[in-house]
């Protein structure tokens, strides 16, 4: 076990490290998970089990493309809402609407459609 030493930050070190690590941010910005497939695996009495679940979710006709996962107990979670998991995908989608109110006002719906008519 090592004991960390205090390494002071400066505005220059912050800028330099962000430049070198920006690729991590850009990569996650490119992720697109429309039609998420979840794969769960387990072993039972020596048999390999694979359960694939595919979710195609839309809200007001537009795909939900954030990362969705399914735990081994069957609960679903949505990484943009990281502190909750749901017994039902429907409950999860209702929470998405609640947590992102700007996205799902009628004004926002119209604006998005106008702005990105060919996106989905």
């Amino acid at each position: 076990m090592s004991r960390p030493k205090k390494v002071r930050s400066t505005t220059q070190t912050v800028a330099a490290y962000v430049r070198s690590n920006a690729k991590h941010v850009r990569r996650t910005q490119m992720q697109h998970h429309a039609g998420t497939e979840s794969v769960r695996t387990a072993t039972h009495r020596g048999h390999e089990i694979v359960v694939k679940t595919r979710y195609d979710i839309t809200i007001d006709g537009r795909p939900v493309t954030g990362h969705l996962g399914v735990s081994n107990d069957g609960h679903v979670h949505y990484h943009p809402i990281p502190n909750l998991s749901f017994a039902s995908a429907l409950d999860m989608v209702k929470a998405i609407i609640d947590v992102f109110p700007d996205r799902f006002t009628s004004k926002a719906r119209g604006k998005k459609r106008d702005k990105h008519p060919s996106h989905h």
Binding site: R3, P4, V14, V18, Q31, G66, I81, P82, N83, L84
Partner: protein
């Protein structure tokens, strides 16, 4: 010399310095822009404070390893405590810099103490006074992070996450909805139950694992969301999405979680699993794996198991 991290409700100096430092970091721009990080829209400078928002979301969106969909680079697995300790250390260092005070220590919020009250009392805790973190609302209109439509340089949420999990630009006030999604905070019974648990973590190393990490993160029974997760959900508003560091209360919650980890290690030993001999399927969560970094050199879980040369807590009575 190690700094001391204190209870924000009992230390007015730490409370005031924390609010001041956060607002200074909100107004500091070191060079990174939205364009340089792939955030759409007209390119704008990103403040040092908002870089922490970007960092947290990026870690949360990075599956570790990529072949599975549960554990990410900061949550839902063993690295939860080390990664957030790393993040808090970096915030503390940057606050010390802008405050020009090497003795500044991050304050913590002992939310389980507030959890002893009725739901109404919890919402009226002194933490939410104008002289502390400000109150609830959309936007928050009291306290050091209040929204002022006439002050474009005031506290604004500038980077947030959209419903599809991508970082986008915004320009609005902070949002909180105290006690709306869930009526009560965790209690001392909850924290004591977590501290009693061993080992630190265990197979399957995820949200179904027995052990301290999963209990304290808030996934395991008796009632989820619990502990850390429950505090996020109880505060609501900007504490709900993966851009939750937008609310400075984020760090008070995690500082208390870090205090819990320190209390656990004081009782059970400075041990961590999985060790580096664990299979590659646990990459990103093993003892010597590099943790995802944005604004500093990377650290490993092994680097943050004993931080007593950097900081101590005024109390480990969690």
């Amino acid at each position: 010399m190690a700094v001391t991290r204190r209870n924000i409700l009992t230390d007015a100096t730490a409370r005031g310095q924390y609010a001041l430092g956060v607002n200074l970091l909100k107004r500091e721009f070191t060079g990174p822009t939205t364009a340089s990080l792939g955030i759409p829209g007209t390119s704008r400078r990103i403040s040092t404070y908002d870089l922490f928002v970007v960092w947290h979301h990026t870690a949360m969106s990075t599956m570790t390893p990529p072949q599975q969909g549960d554990r990410n680079a900061a949550h839902r697995g063993p690295v939860f405590f080390p990664w957030h300790r790393f993040m808090l250390l970096q915030l503390e260092l940057n606050l010390q810099r802008v405050l020009n005070d090497d003795t500044f220590g991050l304050p913590y919020w002992d939310w389980a103490a507030d959890g002893a009250g009725t739901p109404s009392q919890q919402r009226r805790s002194a933490l939410w006074n104008a002289g502390a973190m400000g109150g609830t609302g959309s936007p928050v209109r009291t306290g050091p992070f209040r929204f002022n439509s006439n002050d474009p340089d005031g506290f604004r949420v500038r980077i947030e996450v959209d419903a599809n999990g991508r970082l986008v630009q915004s320009n609005r006030g902070l949002r909180r909805n105290l006690g709306r999604s869930i009526p009560t905070l965790p209690t001392k019974v909850d924290t004591a139950g977590a501290i009693d648990m061993t080992p630190y973590d265990a197979p399957d190393w995820n949200t179904a694992s027995p052990g301290f990490r999963n209990r304290a993160e808030g996934w395991s029974p008796p009632e989820a969301p619990a502990l850390h997760n429950r505090v996020h959900v109880w505060v609501g508003g900007d504490m709900l999405p993966s851009s939750s560091p937008n609310d400075p209360v984020f760090y008070l919650n995690h500082c208390n979680e870090d205090r819990m980890w320190e209390a656990w290690m004081t009782r059970h030993g400075r041990t961590y699993v999985p060790l580096q001999t664990a299979p590659a399927s646990l990459r990103g969560h093993r003892l010597n794996d590099q943790m995802l970094s944005l604004i500093s050199a990377a650290m490993r879980p092994a680097d943050v198991l004993d931080v007593r040369s950097l900081y101590v807590y005024d109390s480990l009575d969690v």
